[in-house]
C-alpha cells in the first residue's frame, strides 16, 4: 500500500511539475503586433535600445554608430554581439522580450514579416520622415511584403565580372567573352581558358558560380524566378532551364562540377595565393567586396573587370544586402526607428566614407567606395573614391555601374523554402542526379507549395 502511495506521489509530483512547465512554455501568444509608438523627428528620446544582429566593428560601422548615438540623445544603446540567430530572435519575440531593433539580410525580411515577428514601418517612415525615394528600388522591393515596407535597406551587394587578364590574353579571348553577354562565346572562352594536367584540372576556365548565381543568370536572360508580387514561382521557366543548362555546361566542359569545386575549395580564397594571383582561374562573376580583397592581398594580380551583362549586352547585377527592422512587441520602437533612419542616412554614410578614406590614406591605399541601399549616399561617396590605378579603377567603375543596374527577387513569406528549392534543384543537376528540366520542375512544385502556404498563413493572420 505504501509503495502505491509513494508511486502515486511521484506521478502527482511529476504531473505538477509538467503542469507548471507547460504554463511556462505554451501560450506566449506569438507576436505582439501593435505599433503605438510616437514617431517624431524632433522628439527627445530616452530608454534603452538593444540591437540584435549587428556586429560591425570596422570604421564604417563605428563611425555610423557614433552618428546614430548622437541622434538618439539619452537613449542607452546596447549592441548584442554576434551575427543574427533567427531562432534566438524568434524565441525572444515569442517570449515577449524582443530586442528593440533587428539587423538582418534583406532576403530574410519577408519570412519574418509573414510570421508577425517584425512590424510594418509605414508609421515609422512617415513619422520620422525617412526619405524612401532615396533608396534603390531593388533594395526596397526586397523589404516590401504585400505592399508594406518592413525594413530600411542598409548595405548593398552587387556582382562584377572578374578575370585574369594574362590568362584571357594567352587564350586569345577578352573580358567581353566572359561577361555573360554572349553565352556561346563564354562557353568557347571557357574551353580555351581551361587547362588540365595529367587528368586533373590545373586552370578553371570560367566559374559560373552555381548554385548561388542562378537568379543572376536567369535575370540576365530577361527572366525572373518569382513574380513581382512574390506569389508565383517560375523556377521551371524556359529562361531558368536555359540558364541552368548553360551554366552547368560550363562545369561539364571542365570535367564536371565535382572537379571544379574540389579545385576551388583548395584555393586560398582570401590570401596572397588566391586563384587570380596564382593564375588558376580565368574568370568568374563575384560580389564587389572581393575587389577590395584582391587589391589588398594581391595588388599586382593581372586583373580585368567588367559588369556582368545581359544577353543583350546591358549591365546587370542581382542586389543583395542588409536592412534594419523593428521587432513586434518592442518597447522602444521610436528609438529603433530613429536609429534605422540615422544609420542609413546620407550624413551617416558620409561619416563612414570619411572614416574609411582616412584609414586608407594612412595605409597608403586607395579608397574604393562603399555600396549602400541609399542612392544619394552612393553618389556622394563615389565622388570621394581615390584612384588605385589600373586595373582597380576599372573594377570600381564596374562596381558602380552594376549598382545602377540592379534587380532583385521580391520579399515573400517563404523565402527560405523558396531558396532551398532552387538550390536543391541546381545541386541535383550539378551532382548529376537530374536534368535541368526535371530538377526545376520539382523545385517549382515545392517552391510554389511553400509560397501558397506562406501567403495563406499571412492572409489568415491578417484577417484575425
Amino acid at each position: 500500500m505504501t509503495r502505491y502511495r509513494f508511486t502515486a506521489g511521484c506521478v502527482a509530483g511529476a504531473a505538477a511539475i509538467a503542469l507548471v512547465l507547460s504554463g511556462c512554455a505554451v501560450g506566449t501568444g506569438g507576436a505582439a503586433g501593435g505599433d503605438d509608438a510616437d514617431y517624431d523627428p524632433d522628439a527627445d528620446l530616452s530608454g534603452e535600445l538593444s540591437v540584435m544582429g549587428f556586429s560591425g566593428v570596422d570604421e564604417v560601422a563605428t563611425s555610423r554608430v557614433e552618428y546614430a548615438e548622437a541622434e538618439l540623445g539619452d537613449v542607452e544603446v546596447e549592441l548584442i554581439e554576434g551575427d543574427l540567430d533567427i531562432q534566438q530572435f524568434l524565441s525572444a519575440v515569442a517570449s515577449g522580450e524582443p530586442p528593440e531593433l533587428l539587423y538582418a539580410d534583406r532576403d530574410q525580411i519577408g519570412s519574418l514579416a509573414a510570421r508577425g515577428a517584425i512590424i510594418p514601418l509605414e508609421r515609422c517612415i512617415d513619422g520620422e520622415g525617412i526619405e524612401m525615394d532615396q533608396f534603390r528600388e531593388s533594395a526596397v522591393e526586397q523589404v516590401t511584403l504585400d505592399g508594406e515596407v518592413y525594413g530600411i535597406p542598409e548595405f548593398n551587394q552587387v556582382q562584377v565580372t572578374m578575370a585574369n587578364a594574362d590568362l584571357l590574353s594567352a587564350a586569345g579571348v577578352t573580358i567581353e567573352d566572359v561577361n555573360g553577354s554572349d553565352r556561346a562565346a563564354m562557353t568557347e572562352a571557357n574551353k580555351a581558358l581551361t587547362k588540365s594536367d595529367g587528368g586533373s584540372l590545373s586552370v578553371i576556365g570560367v566559374d559560373s558560380k552555381l548554385p548561388e548565381f542562378l537568379p543572376l543568370w536567369v535575370a540576365a536572360a530577361g527572366g525572373s524566378l518569382l513574380s513581382d508580387d512574390g506569389k508565383t514561382a517560375s523556377l521551371d521557366s524556359q529562361e531558368a532551364i536555359d540558364a541552368l543548362t548553360w551554366a552547368v555546361g560550363i562545369y561539364d566542359d571542365q570535367g564536371g562540377f565535382s572537379q571544379v569545386k574540389a579545385f576551388r575549395d583548395s584555393a586560398d580564397f582570401f590570401g596572397e595565393g588566391n586563384q587570380f594571383a596564382t593564375n588558376v582561374l580565368g574568370a568568374m562573376p563575384m560580389e564587389q567586396w572581393y575587389i577590395n580583397v584582391l587589391n589588398e592581398v594581391s595588388p599586382d594580380a593581372p586583373m580585368a573587370f567588367d559588369t556582368v551583362r545581359t544577353t543583350s549586352g546591358e549591365p546587370i547585377a542581382f542586389a543583395g544586402g542588409s536592412a534594419w527592422a523593428i521587432p513586434s512587441g518592442t518597447e522602444n520602437a521610436a528609438a529603433a526607428c530613429r536609429w534605422a533612419k540615422a544609420m542609413t542616412s546620407v550624413d551617416a554614410w558620409r561619416a563612414a566614407a570619411e572614416a574609411r578614406l582616412a584609414v586608407r590614406e594612412e595605409e597608403g591605399k586607395p579608397f574604393t567606395g562603399i555600396l549602400t541601399g541609399n542612392s544619394v549616399a552612393d553618389e556622394e561617396i563615389r565622388g570621394m573614391v581615390t584612384s588605385g590605378g589600373e586595373p582597380w579603377d576599372s573594377g570600381i567603375e564596374a562596381m558602380y555601374e552594376a549598382n545602377d543596374h540592379t534587380v532583385s527577387l521580391p520579399a515573400n513569406p517563404a523565402d527560405a523554402e523558396f531558396e532551398q528549392a532552387m538550390q536543391d534543384a541546381v545541386n541535383s543537376v550539378l551532382n548529376g542526379e537530374a536534368t535541368p528540366e526535371e530538377a526545376l520542375a520539382e523545385a517549382q512544385e515545392s517552391a510554389q507549395k511553400a509560397l501558397d502556404e506562406g501567403w495563406q498563413t499571412l492572409e489568415e493572420r491578417a484577417s484575425e
Partner: protein, 325 residues
C-alpha cells in the same frame, strides 16, 4: 510482552523485546526512511531528468502533432506531420544515407577499435603513451573534424589523395563526388576511435590469464584462442561499443553538417551527405517547421528503439556475461 536483561558496560539494563508486528513496523519505517533519503540524494538528477529530458520529450511529442513556427502558438494538425514524413522524398533519402553510413561505419569502427586495442594490449610500457595518442582526436571538436575532412580529403590537393598518389592510385573527389562523399565521411569518422579503443582495451586486460594458459596447454592457436576466449570474454564490451556507435551513427550530424551544410557551403550541398538529423535540423532551425521536426525526431527515436531492441535480442545469443549461468 517479554523483556530481556542485557548486560552493558555500566551494568544491567532492561530492554523491551519487539513483537513480530513491531519488528515489521520498524523495518518498514526504516525502509521508508531509506527510500526518502535515497530520493533526497537522487532529487537533483530526478528534477534534472524531469525538466530537461522527460518534459521536453513530452512537449516535443505534443509539438509533433502541431504546426509550430516558434513565434506563433502551435496549431493542432493531428497526424499530418507524420503523414507528410511518409511522402517526403528527402526523409527517405536522409534515412537511406543514414542507414548506409551506420551499416558500414559501425562494423568498420568496431574492427579498427578492436585491432588497435589488441595492439595496445601487447604494447607493454608504451601502452600508456599510445592510449593517450589514440584518445586525443576524441577531444577534437567535431566542427574542427568537419573542416579537417575538407582539407585532408580534398580531391585536388588533399593529403589523402597525395599519399594515394605515391602508390600510383588516382584518388577520387571525396568531398564533391556524390559516390565518394559517404565513404569519405566513414573513413574520417575513424579519426575518433579512441574512446572505443580504451573500452575494449580495458575488457581485454580483464580476461583471466589462466584461460589463455589452459588453452595453450590444450594446443589452441591464435585464432582458436581469439574466437573461443578473447571474443566471448570481451563480448559485453564489444556489445556496448556496437550499441553506442549504432546510436551515434543514426544520429550523425556535426562533421557532415560542418563539411557540407555549414558556413562554407551555404548554397552548395551534397545530397549524399544529407543525414537524417541534418534534415531534421534544417526543418527545425532553417525553415522553423518545429512541428514537422518534432515528428521527425520521434520517428528517429522509434527507429533507434527498434534497432536497439533487435541488438539486445541478438545479444542474448552472442554476449557472454560472467555472472550468467
Amino acid at each position: 510482552m517479554t523483556s530481556t536483561a542485557i548486560r552493558t558496560g555500566g551494568g544491567v539494563a532492561d530492554r523491551h523485546t519487539a513483537t513480530p508486528e513491531e519488528r515489521e513496523r520498524n523495518r518498514r519505517r526504516a525502509s521508508r526512511r531509506n527510500v526518502w533519503s535515497a530520493m533526497l540524494f537522487l532529487s537533483p538528477w530526478i528534477v534534472g531528468f524531469l525538466v530537461f529530458t522527460a518534459w521536453p520529450m513530452i512537449y516535443s511529442a505534443y509539438l509533433s502533432l502541431t504546426d509550430y513556427d516558434v513565434i506563433n502558438d502551435p496549431n493542432f494538425v493531428g497526424l499530418e506531420n507524420y503523414a507528410q514524413m511518409a511522402t517526403d522524398p528527402k526523409v527517405l533519402l536522409a534515412l537511406g544515407n543514414t542507414a548506409f553510413f551506420t551499416l558500414v561505419q559501425v562494423p568498420l569502427y568496431v574492427v579498427v577499435s578492436l585491432a588497435l586495442a589488441l595492439l595496445l594490449d601487447r604494447a607493454g610500457r608504451a601502452s600508456g603513451f599510445f592510449r593517450t595518442v589514440f584518445f586525443l582526436p576524441k577531444m577534437t571538436p567535431p566542427v574542427a573534424v568537419g573542416v579537417l575532412f575538407l582539407l585532408l580529403f580534398n580531391g585536388q590537393n588533399g593529403l589523402l589523395n597525395t599519399v594515394l598518389g605515391w602508390f600510383g592510385i588516382d584518388g577520387p573527389a571525396w568531398t564533391t563526388d556524390p559516390a565518394w562523399v559517404k565513404p569519405g565521411l566513414i573513413l574520417m569518422s575513424l579519426w575518433t576511435v579512441g574512446a572505443s579503443v580504451i573500452i575494449l582495451l580495458a575488457a581485454l586486460r580483464n580476461v583471466p590469464n589462466e584461460l589463455y594458459e589452459s588453452a595453450k596447454l590444450d594446443g589452441a592457436g591464435f585464432w582458436r584462442t581469439s574466437f573461443s576466449i578473447t571474443l566471448p570474454m570481451i563480448s559485453p564490451a564489444l556489445f556496448f561499443v556496437i550499441i553506442v556507435n549504432t546510436i551515434a551513427g543514426l544520429q550523425t550530424f556535426d562533421e557532415a553538417y560542418t563539411a557540407f551544410f555549414g558556413a562554407g557551403n551555404t548554397t552548395y550541398s551534397n545530397d549524399a551527405a544529407l543525414f537524417y538529423v541534418i534534415y531534421l535540423f534544417q526543418q527545425a532551425f532553417e525553415f522553423l517547421n518545429m512541428g514537422y521536426a518534432s515528428a521527425m525526431a520521434w520517428g528517429l527515436f522509434v527507429v533507434i528503439m527498434i534497432v536497439t531492441a533487435i541488438q539486445l535480442i541478438v545479444s542474448r545469443r552472442f554476449v557472454y556475461y560472467e555472472g550468467d549461468r
